[in-house]
Amino acid sequence: MKNVIILCKDKCIYLIAVLSGIVLMLPFAGSNEAVKTEYYLCAFSFALLGQNISYIVQFISHFIPLFIIQFYWGISLYKSFCVASIYVFSRRNHRVKWALRELWMLLLKTVIFIAAVIVPAFIMLTLSSHAVTDINTVKHAVWMFIMLSLYSFEMIALINLLAFFLESGVAFAIVQIINMLSIAVYLLSVNLKIDESIILEFNLFSRLMVEPDIDIWKVSVSLLYFLIPSVIISLLIVRAVKKTQFTKSIYEGDV
């Protein structure tokens, strides 16, 4: 029950998620073409956008929901150490348990956010266009949902982790620089004089893409690409929470 109350507190952000998903799908809504739905849904995972700098506007616009979530929950865990922290943590007997619970809630909230972006948009597309929805569409949507959830959780956790060692604004900026560099490298990869496949192997957004014809090997590797760092970052956060010392008041303002 307590978890439900915590999740409901963020209803505003879920509303933003629903709206941004619908807005991104609006251009396809009235289409009369009998295209498979997953071709439209691909917009969420950046697939089918070309490797060309002219796609930057689409890329950035598709990135907006992911940016919002990183901005909103980026320091959600760390800020517990900023305000009233002495009086909070003098009451918490098991910090590790607290950190694990917070990370679990963060994952849950991220999953709900991504679902709020994809599901209403998917329903709207199905009802308002001639797009064809079949079992492959559902499979595609599920893979995309898993991948976007893991990517978002990884980024949110990374901002929280970096904030323990740097100022929270710097932590957020570093992660956005990583995001922007990844987008830039993806868009410019065909122009770079290095083997394109090697660059894209380690590119965040290339890994995030789930193409309509699912290559199960590629998505499985991508899954590990997001899963393993997420676990490592979570463990490092737990360690940081355990090791944080209240030798002075950590205060960054009313965050």
């Binding site: 010392q245 209240f246 030798t247």
Partner: protein, 210 residues
């Protein structure tokens, strides 16, 4: 209850904060700590409570070891100078949020304690708009409202008017019989009046005054 610190040492940035501290603190007594700013009084509270790790030595509560059996002392009420509460919340909401951690105090108890420290539980003013004395009263309330049995109070009467000082003194004397109370203060009158045992703190060393 018995809180024991044995050979506790702590150094931060090559500066000795606590040097071979040995203390035996029991329920039913108030312990006063006096010393200059930066002498180590507040750091002792942070170390004994578990909010800060120690380099060597042990802190035990009734035989259970701090940082091994628990992360912070159970039933701890602490008040650290300059450490504020949630700035955007009212007094009542602040205590309500804190009470959600231990779940020991309901709304009625929270209201009662806010009244006890001389504040209005229905006041919607956020903490950041409180005067210094009001802030101090509310922080004192958070240290005692869950019937905590170990109180570590750093300058508890700072910025308080006479009625506030009297309120703090009478509550501490009332609580003394079943609690371990530690007070750090510049105010010699507080220490002389309340403390059963007095320690002078200098460069991280704690010397008992007879």
């Amino acid at each position: 209850m018995e809180l024991i610190a044995e050979c506790v040492n702590k150094t931060i940035d090559k500066k000795i904060i606590l040097s071979n501290v040995n203390l035996k603190l029991c329920s039913g007594k108030i312990y006063g700590f006096v010393g200059r700013n930066g002498s180590g009084k507040t750091m002792l509270f942070r170390a004994l409570s578990g909010l800060m790790s120690i380099d060597s030595g042990t802190v035990t509560l009734d035989g259970k070891i701090l940082h091994k059996d628990f992360d912070v002392l159970p039933e701890l009420g602490i008040m650290i100078e300059n450490a504020g509460l949630y700035p955007q919340l009212s007094g009542f909401d602040n205590l309500k949020r804190l009470s959600s951690i231990r779940k020991k105090a309901d709304d009625n108890i929270i209201r009662e304690y806010i009244k006890t420290v001389g504040l209005d539980p229905d006041d919607k003013k956020p903490f950041r708009k409180y005067s210094l004395g009001m802030k101090q009263r509310l922080v004192f309330a958070q240290a005692i409202f869950e019937d905590q049995k170990i109180l570590m109070l750093d300058e508890p009467t700072n910025a308080m008017d006479d009625s506030g000082v009297q309120m703090v003194r009478s509550i501490l004397l009332e609580r003394k019989k079943d609690s371990i109370i530690l007070i750090a203060s510049h105010n010699h009158e507080d220490i002389d009046m309340l403390a059963d045992e007095k320690y002078r703190v200098s460069n991280g060393q704690f010397i008992k005054e007879e």
